[in-house]
Amino acid sequence: MSVLIFVDQTENHIKKASYEVLTYGAQVAKQMGTTAEALVLGTVNDDLASLGKYGITKVHQVANESLNHVDTQLYAKVIAEAVTASGANVLIFSHNQTGKAVAARVAARLKAGIVTGACALPDTSNGFVVRKTVFSGKAFANISINSPVRIISLNPNSYQTVAGEGTAEVSALNVAVDASKVKITAVNKVSGEVPLTEADIVVSGGRGLKGPENWGILLDLAKELHAATACSRPVGDAHWRPHHEHVGQTGVQIAPNLYIALGISGAIQHLAGVNRSKVIVVINKDPEAPFFKAADYGIVGDLFEVVPKLTEEIHKMKAS
């Protein structure tokens, strides 16, 4: 019995979302009176022993280069074997792009019940009940997993990462890796930008910005805050911004610490993608905009005047 945590990597580095699930998984293990172990696929340059800082006792690594890209078929096979080899009865993923691609496939292979999009620690006092967001953040469901092996994928930004002291034992896991049937022919990363689902702060723009040529003030604010940028659906549809920035019920769902909405009315479908944010700031010239009802702080005013001032004030605050 143990808790196994899948560690997601990109370009040979462990992703931020992985530290969150490591902390979370270690807590699940503690709660169940067992150990937390980690699984790393592919070649990674980071110091794996240091994952001990997150409460991990052992790191299993399948250091095979063909696992540096996610092929769900290969991953499912390798992860399922690692679960069996390590004797884990709980497996944890981040519900990020990799988790969404792989976790359910592993579940089907192991015939293990899965809850995706978990947002809290499981209740293990009587059975195994996991809380998750449903209806795109408009409600929660508590789901009981009734199989011997249980799988959770945790919504990014829903658990506080804590690093302490400790060193993990690193052990190579020998698993045969099949040839991939999926050939990756190009990878296009938007360099220098903070990935939206991992960002602590997100600055988002709606139709109130009037046109793509006006995005400069939003980008300046985002830069000052080291924030990722997002937009409402009509903005993505009109190609004012790339469609991967579209947040909402039919776009990306995010839960940053701070979400700043500029010229967005706050339609129910938009809120569904952002209402798990810890703090919401709305800047809108219409005092009746529905977004104010979902906001923590707001300014009723013209964003073209307010936003440059806001950037300037933040700059001053940081300098002082």
Partner: protein, 247 residues
């Protein structure tokens, strides 16, 4: 070329979310039902586009649900599917549902299986990967572009902070999202034709149910917005820094 499109029924995006039966069931009172937007706008429409380019393509729709799904299936057929299969079960367990779809998929010998990236009610994002595993074929998730060249699919998929382009030989399961196609409205001819298209109802095969819903909860209401004067932006910065501690 045979395409299987997975369709699920979800509440309209503006539905009031409430629960009954001691918070154990979704309250369906007054709820308008729609085809899950990801299934409709992206996977179904892309399948229809492929059929428009190549008349040899047939499109089958599959849903797992009760008779109350039939209007949704008819609407999907009005947009363009050739025939539909409904597996008669109310299960909400993703493994059980995926096992049903996998059974349909194996029997039908499909070249391509499309799902939406997730259903907007339970947000599981699980069915595509599970079906792919049960059928034992590749799965490419979160597609934003899908092109077909003979029996090779070229798929652009979302990854963290960007995208990658994958090439894969059919058969494959693909989960679709924005970018793959554009929303369409069914026309009168399609609606008329849909009435007589075959909708086959089959009973579920035996499969395990691995999860069960204990109850639902609504999030606590927000305390209310603190408004700051537009001439006093510095005050907002102070509040965010000192009170909310987020910057």
């Amino acid at each position: 070329m045979k395409i299987l499109v997975c369709i699920s029924k979800t509440p309209d995006t503006t539905s009031k979310i409430a629960f009954t039966d001691g918070n154990k069931k979704f309250d369906e009172t007054g709820v308008q039902w729609i085809i899950n937007p990801y299934d409709e706008w992206y996977s179904l429409v892309r399948a229809i586009e492929l059929k428009e380019k190549d008349a040899a393509v047939t499109i089958h729709l599959v849903t797992v649900g009760g008779a109350d799904c039939d209007p949704i299936i008819r609407k999907a057929l009005a947009l363009g599917g050739d025939e539909a299969i409904r597996v008669n079960s109310d299960s909400t367990d993703s493994y059980f549902i995926a096992a049903q779809i996998a059974e349909v998929a194996k029997k039908g010998g499909y070249d391509l299986i499309f799902t939406g990236k997730e259903a907007i009610d339970y947000n599981g994002a699980s069915i595509g990967g599970m079906v792919a595993e049960l059928v034992d074929i590749p799965y490419v998730s979160l597609a934003t572009l899908f092109e077909l060249n003979g029996t090779t699919a070229t798929i652009t998929r979302e990854i963290e902070g960007g995208e990658e382009v994958a090439e894969v030989s059919l058969p494959v399961v693909v989960s679709c999202q924005k970018g793959v196609a554009e929303q369409r409205i069914p026309n009168m001819r399609g609606i008329m034709a849909a009435r007589t298209k075959p909708l086959q109802v089959v009973e579920p095969v035996a499969a395990d149910t691995l999860t069960s819903v204990v109850n639902f909860e609504l999030p606590p209401a927000k305390a209310g917005v603190k408004l700051v004067d537009a001439d006093n932006v510095a005050e907002l910065v102070r509040l965010l820094h000192e009170e909310a501690k987020v910057i």
